[in-house]
Subunit: 403 residues, 2 copies
């Protein structure tokens, strides 16, 4: 069996941990599998490199940042290969470029264009464990690029797709994907399986296991992967296309995102182009808006209220942008609230079950939790609630839908 394993920065954070990774790889190798290992930079290394760069200039060139940051993973692959050698295994390290990972030229957040896995296949066939630097690739012209946040997961999933690997394991510091954050919901349980769509909605809802782009890539290329812990041998959570055999539940998981703020624009003129003007200004400033709700105008007043949420750290910047367009857009007032939580329930099962929203709202009402905003997708319902009541609301919703 051909297995791609990915280990993050904390899993390779020092020589001792790299040896642990080697021991795990050796176990799979000895069971007769072919192994490709994708590793991140040792934890802390990337931050140190960024600090060095900032000591030189505040806004370094993105091409040169990629040249600089790519050394982080290159260091880890060499050390990981050595650790495998020390255990008597054949192993060889490859940079992203050497592994055939070709990207576009958008430095610091490049997209993988294609992977030529010929050399990796040859090395595997020669009996090597192949160690590939995560997070990096090169353009067709030979410039080194990096893939941005969550890039090493993406490398692993893309390599698994290109190599037609039977299994892709994402090793991390959590056991797998849970029905809710166990620190908040004590009887949350680990999921055996979850569909790509549910995983995507949970990622979008603030669950921090993986970046959406890696899950999207896996969904697009049908890469089945497992999220599991590098600290123990427990089976993790399999992420794959929704199937008949998948445990039939209405709600797969509940998440609470405490990192959002709510902005309300009061008395926005109810005429074409106003919303576009506002959200274009926010988009131009690189501000990612999440939920957007617009109430219907009422009582003959040609004005409406628009509320939206965005990441809390982006709030000061958003305020500035909104102050600049306020007069021109005819907005009467901008009100921000940082004391909110976004509570979401996710599950493909809700497609075929009516009354899920009603049951969620009723649960919240019984808890005395006021709903400030509602937004729904086909397999997710999100509500904005008072931050102080977020955790108890989450426990109540989890109890009703999951147990």
């Amino acid at each position: 069996m051909l297995i791609v394993q990915k280990y993050g920065g904390t899993s390779v954070g020092n020589p001792e941990r790299i040896k642990n990774v080697a021991r795990r790889v050796a176990k799979y190798r000895e069971a007769g599998h072919q192994i490709v290992v994708v590793v991140s930079a040792m934890s802390g290394v990337t931050d140190n490199l960024i600090k060095l760069a900032k000591d030189i200039m505040p806004l370094p060139s993105e091409r040169e940042m990629d040249m600089l940051l790519a050394t982080g993973e290159q260091t880890t692959i060499a050390l990981t290969a050595m650790a495998l050698h020390a255990m008597g295994l054949d192993a060889i390290s490859l940079t992203g470029a050497q592994a055939g990972i070709v990207t576009d030229g958008v430095h610091t957040k490049a997209k993988i264009r294609n992977i030529t896995p010929k050399q990796v296949h040859e090395l595997l066939d020669q009996g090597h464990v192949v160690i590939v630097a995560g997070f990096q690739g090169q353009t067709p012209e030979g410039h080194i690029t990096t893939l941005g946040r969550g890039g090493s997961d993406l490398t692993a999933i893309a390599m698994a797709a290109a190599l037609k690997a039977e299994l892709c394991q994402i090793y991390t510091d959590v056991d797998g994907v849970y029905t809710a954050d166990p620190r908040i919901v004590p009887n949350a349980r680990k999921l055996k399986e979850i569909s790509y769509d549910e995983m995507l909605e949970l990622a979008g809802a603030g669950a921090k296991v993986m970046q959406s782009r890696s899950v999207e890539f896996a969904k697009k290329f049908g890469v089945v992967f497992e999220v599991r812990s590098s600290l123990n041998d427990n089976p993790g959570t399999i992420v794959k296309e929704e199937t008949e055999s998948m445990e039939s539940v209405v709600i797969r998981g509940v998440s609470l995102d405490k990192n959002q703020a709510k902005v309300t624009l009061a008395h926005v003129p109810d005429k074409p182009g106003v919303a576009a003007q506002i959200f274009k200004a926010l988009g131009d400033a690189n501000l990612n808006v999440d939920m957007i709700v617009q109430t219907a105008s009422h009582g003959g007043i040609a004005a409406t209220d628009i509320s939206f949420t965005l990441d809390k750290p982006d709030l000061p910047k958003a305020r500035k942008v909104l102050e600049a367009v306020k007069a021109d857009a005819g907005i009467k007032e901008v009100v921000a609230d940082e004391n909110i939580g976004k509570l979401s329930i996710v599950g493909v099962g809700m497609r075929s079950h009516s009354g899920v929203a009603a049951k969620m709202f009723e649960t919240l009402a019984n808890e005395g939790v006021n709903i400030q905003m509602i937004s729904t997708s086909e397999i997710k319902i999100s509500v904005v609630v008072d931050l102080a009541k977020g955790e108890s609301a989450m426990r109540a919703v989890h109890a009703v839908f999951i147990g």
Copy 2:
């Protein structure tokens, strides 16, 4: 004018020093020159990487050491490019591989096979300062290699040859090449010029400015280079082929190597094959022998004495090797002496001046210095003397030949 500048590890040892390098490069660039900058790893970085590797295993694979160590220069090139950007200059960094440096596959001490300077020329023509990682290259198959000790000097000189640069400047922490070490000989003076051959003999005689291989490469390809300081703007020393116009002196420089030990093999049978047996055993153990002197056998005794010198740290290993072959080779006794110095005078002028050796020996006799071994080449005379008298002997010889 196309200039290649090389900066060593101390010259780029921290962000502040990298900015100094950028200021110097900018000055040349503003004068209208095209500049290729070759940099080493920041001082200390390579040692830290070696330590990391040793924490994983005592004798790491040489291929993986190259993968690991190559990150050192890659970090410096990115930071140097940023520092030039901060001054408003166009600059772009290239790894050894990207700069077209192709080597053989002898990891950790690869030899440069050829350089394809097409991309560097293109980038220069586009107005960039091109920053190239020293010390590294890649094999035709795409494996990353390093060039071993003095590798960054070699990169600079090889790039200058491939690019047909008008000037190659080796920036270091000394002002240039001196007639003798100024710490020992206070009236030593900096040389304006020196020939490749003299530079080579001085390097071999323990002067630490540059490794022989870089000088040999420069001689082979006729690369004129200047050794100068990165701490000031003083002109340095030009190293080039011997010419008529070169200042006509008998002796260019005097050096004292205190890092050698002398080994004497007493009563070695005076028959064919014995010396070969001894020095083959030493060579097989990777021990570099420097001077070798064999006295003629005398008085009907079919035995001779053989003395040789080697690096002091290699002495324990040499003793073991010699103990192993002693009986078989018929050696009566092995005597080692660590308290010696090798004093050398170097100059192409001695070719056409007779009596140079006699004058040196007379000077030493007048100082009461006993000569233990003598070895000569066409442009060098080396003698082994008592270590305690080495420095005063050096001053006396310098005074007589140079002033």
